[in-house]
């Protein structure tokens, strides 16, 4: 793989770094999130921050952005010690951040979101023409195509991310922090993003890039810093490292980067979807006459560029979205529309793609999140009241089994790191006997070690006779886990193949709507 020139040759290691974080320590109740961390960023470089879930990456970046104050340590910008006590101050110093979980207002337009909170907006009337013009310019300059007048809620995740980046550029960011920017992107979008990043560094902007995808690290980084349990455990460069080495640096052991599984032994159909028609949020046809079956003991993967109806398909099957036409059958049960409870009762577990919207109640402790759909059933409810000891023990067991990094089961889901939130959802959905597993982006935001573990769990569910429907924006994940692959494009299933014989290129083409001939 040849590396694109994302970092210009002009980087001088002896120059004063644009950013230096020295001896940063941050404690949360029961957690030492950052432990004497040193990090520096040179002008025009991409510095990758790696580390397992809960290692303290987001915390360190939130400190840089003024969202948290460090307990110890200092920040130097261009060699000058600077106190960053609020995002406002961070922005004023040219620091921009794209958060792991986006911070856009869905009911506002792109332009409104970009200019939100800016001084130029303080008048009585809001001038939308000029900002829209500048957004168009920035879009063009950095290849971040987006419609300034579109509403955020109508945009795909990839588009929303562009808006987040534009937001920082609009504020003249010189230092850009991207916290897991590729977790939600399609391969094509990732390529676009990397192209944008190389343009940014060419202009002298400096980037801190957090990701769990080692391939990306090796592709874009000039330098790599690895964190573990709040500490810097090593630094390296793409020239010196490979995926296996990075993985073991992160996790402290060697990691199996490929899925290890036997051939499937499919049994009777468990999920039958027939001629399904579903509308999107905007009342356009999102799923247009889709039919397929998932049998017990097989993993069916749905590949497709995000926004081609996968989300709506899953929501319709799980009762979260109205079925306009067609039928869904789970086992011997015909599933009525709009009835999530019936789907759960039929023996379905669902890992939702949006863990903040559906998967968790962020203001609940982990122990309640671990029983979200079953707390009213025995043994979690006994007689009239919740059986707290059992609920607590259940959470303790799952935390241990799924290696959720948290001080205790009392911790609020909202204060967990992103990957650990995902593990809570996965742990819960794997914790009860099921017939059908619907896994949407099951490993989104989790570290390589946990990806390995979750993949193993999915395969062992399959081997235990569970029917698995897997939806993932990552073709790699689909290719390596699935037994059968369906490709969705514009609301239709446009292709179908056995995973063993499927070719990556063919599926890639189908995803783009091109039929092979």
């Amino acid at each position: 793989m040849n590396k694109p020139s994302t970092s210009p040759a002009t980087v001088d290691p002896k120059a004063v770094p644009v950013l230096e974080m020295r001896g940063i320590t941050k404690r949360f109740p029961g957690v030492l999130a950052n432990d004497n961390i040193n990090l520096d960023l040179q002008r025009g470089e991409i510095h990758c921050l790696l580390g397992e879930n809960g290692a303290g990456k987001s915390t360190l970046m939130n400190i840089l952005y003024g969202l948290y104050l460090p307990n110890e340590g200092e920040i130097l910008l261009n060699g000058k010690p600077t106190k960053i006590t609020s995002p406002k101050i961070a922005i004023a110093h040219g620091i921009g951040m794209v958060h792991q979980h986006f911070m856009l207002v869905p009911t506002l337009t792109v332009t409104e979101n970009v200019t939100l909170g800016l001084e130029e907006n303080k008048g009585l009337f809001i001038d939308v023409k000029k900002p829209a013009e500048r957004i168009r310019e920035l879009s063009k300059q950095y290849g971040l195509e987006v419609d300034p007048d579109a509403y955020i809620k109508d945009l795909s995740v990839g588009m929303q991310q562009r808006v987040e980046i534009i937001k920082t550029l609009y504020r003249n960011a010189q230092i850009l922090v991207l916290d897991e920017p590729t977790a939600v992107l399609t391969p094509q979008e990732v390529d676009d993003l990397f192209h944008t990043l190389s343009q940014l560094t060419a202009q002298g902007k400096s980037i801190i890039f957090i990701t769990h995808k080692l391939r990306e690290v090796l592709k874009v980084a000039r330098r790599i810093t690895v964190l573990r349990q709040g500490r810097v455990v090593g630094s390296t460069t793409p020239q010196e490292a490979d995926s296996a080495k990075l993985a073991s640096m992160m996790v402290g052991r060697s990691v199996l980067l490929k899925v290890d599984k036997d051939a499937a032994k499919p049994q009777a159909p468990v999920l039958s979807v027939s001629n399904l028609r579903v509308l999107s949020e905007r009342r356009t046809v999102a799923v247009n006459g889709v039919s397929f079956e998932v049998r017990a003991g097989e993993i069916v993967g749905i590949a497709g560029v995000e926004g081609n109806g996968q989300t709506e398909l899953v929501e319709a099957i799980t009762g979260l979205r109205h079925i306009e036409q067609g039928t869904v059958q789970i086992g011997s049960v015909a599933i009525p529309s709009d009835n999530p409870d019936a789907v759960i009762e039929a023996g379905t577990a669902h890992i939702p793609e949006d863990r903040h919207k559906y998967g968790l109640v962020l203001s609940y402790p982990i122990r309640y999140n671990m029983v979200l759909s079953i707390f009213d059933k025995p043994p979690f409810t006994q007689g009239l009241s919740l059986n707290e000891p059992v609920i607590t023990q259940n959470a303790k067991d799952l935390i241990k089994k799924f290696d959720v990094r948290t001080p205790s089961e009392e911790t609020f889901a909202g204060s967990l790191s992103g990957g650990n939130q995902q593990k809570v959802v996965v742990a819960r959905e794997f914790s009860r006997p099921i017939k059908l597993l619907i896994a949407s982006q099951p490993t989104r935001g989790v570290d390589v070690g946990s990806v390995e573990f979750i993949h193993k769990q999915i395969v062992s569910q399959r081997d235990a006779g569970v029917a698995v429907l897997l939806i993932s924006a990552e073709l790699d994940e689909i290719m390596s886990l699935s037994d059968r692959i369906l490709v969705m494009y514009k609301g239709k299933v446009v292709g179908q193949s056995e995973a063993a014989t499927a070719k990556r290129e063919d599926i890639g083409l189908l995803m783009m709507g091109t039929q092979k001939n």
């Binding site: 409870d341 998967g359 609940y364 759909s373 009239l384 009241s385």
Partner: protein
């Protein structure tokens, strides 16, 4: 494990639960004090006489608790709505219909022993309140009609309806427009046989308070209601019917408010006057906010509001200031408690 705080940060939660209400009351006292100084009164004497009138004078504390009784029930009713993410502004109307219905059962149903008659009248009031709020819940669940609008409309209907009933079909023989006296068998007896008004409704309110705590903190139904309030999408995902919980929450909320009305007529008035205690249901919104939805908080806030109402008469006599200062005081408390709550609820969406 006993720690069942709800906000993402425990520290913030404790701060919210104690300091916001405490600071609100304190700042309100200071501002009202400044107003008193401007009008030429000494705030210290005023407040001392208020405390005397609410707690120390003979029978004062009993009166404070008597007024706190409906406040507790109404405050809990409004709080349950908040727990489910519903803003029940209709507490006042539900309070009225509860009072009317239990009054009617109290005087019109004859020949029953107290052991049946009293519970019947109480339950009748609670059911009436539940029904009244349930209408709003039903329209929210089936048609998406916002409960703020529908409960306000239902308030007006309740006021007009009770007014009509008391001046018409339910009017008693006397010259004043009021219902006949409730029969002895339906009365909530006095707690002490002294001259004060404190009645068993207060004990009932305390029992309900414990039940409220149990429902919201220990029962699966309570957790379902809380989940719907905290994240309706996650609730749906977990198989909890948001519509059903909306209706159920409004029913319970309305039942508590209706029960407050029942307790008021069966324990305190013994009939329903045309000019019924105005505004308790609205004060209850402030009480719920001040109590931060926590039963103990609601209890404390209810006693505080009860004390301000009970002590104002004596304060007027001794310190010679208008009781309107109490309204000013309460208004400021509401502003300061509500402001952070309102701001927070905006950011939660």
């Amino acid at each position: 494990m006993t720690n069942t705080t709800k906000s993402p940060s425990p520290i913030l939660k404790v701060w919210d639960a104690i300091w916001t209400p405490l600071l609100s009351v304190l700042v309100a006292l200071i501002i009202a004090g400044i107003i008193l100084i401007i009008t030429g009164a000494n705030p210290l004497t005023v407040y001392v006489s208020l405390v005397k009138g609410a707690f120390i004078q003979p029978g004062a504390f009993a009166e404070t608790l008597t007024i706190a009784t409906p406040y507790i029930l109404l405050g809990l009713g409004v709080s349950l709505g908040f727990t489910a993410g519903l803003f029940n502004i209709g507490a006042e109307g539900q309070f009225y219909v509860g009072a009317v219905v239990s009054t009617y059962i109290g005087y019109a149903v004859t020949g029953l022993p107290a052991i049946i008659h009293l519970p019947l009248a109480l339950i009748g009031g609670a059911l009436a309140g539940a029904l009244w709020a349930g209408i709003a819940g039903y329209f929210k669940a089936t048609r998406g009609a916002h409960e703020v609008i529908t409960t306000i409309m239902l308030n007006y209907i309740a006021f007009a309806l009770t007014d009509y009933l008391i001046n018409g079909p339910l009017r008693g023989k006397g010259s004043a427009p009021r219902t006949p006296e409730v029969l002895d068998s339906a009365l909530l007896p006095k707690l002490f046989s002294s001259s004060d008004n404190l009645h068993w409704g207060f004990i009932l309110a305390l029992v309900i308070l414990v039940g409220y705590w149990f429902l919201t903190q220990r029962m699966p139904l309570g957790l379902q209601i809380r989940t719907v309030g905290a994240n309706p999408d996650a609730a749906r995902y977990a198989g909890i019917s948001v519509n059903r919980m909306t209706v159920v929450s409004m029913l319970i909320s309305g039942a508590l408010c209706g029960l407050a009305g029942a307790s008021e007529v069966l324990g305190r008035y013994h009939y329903m006057p045309a000019a019924f205690t105005a505004g308790y249901g609205f004060d209850a919104i402030a009480i719920s906010l001040l109590g931060q939805g926590n039963p103990i908080g609601v209890l404390i806030a209810s006693v505080l509001f009860g004390a301000m109402n009970a002590g104002s008469g004596f304060m007027q006599l001794e310190a010679n200031v208008t009781p309107a200062i109490i309204s000013v005081l309460q208004a400021f408390i509401i502003v300061f408690v509500a402001a952070p709550a309102i701001i927070r609820s905006f950011f939660k969406k």
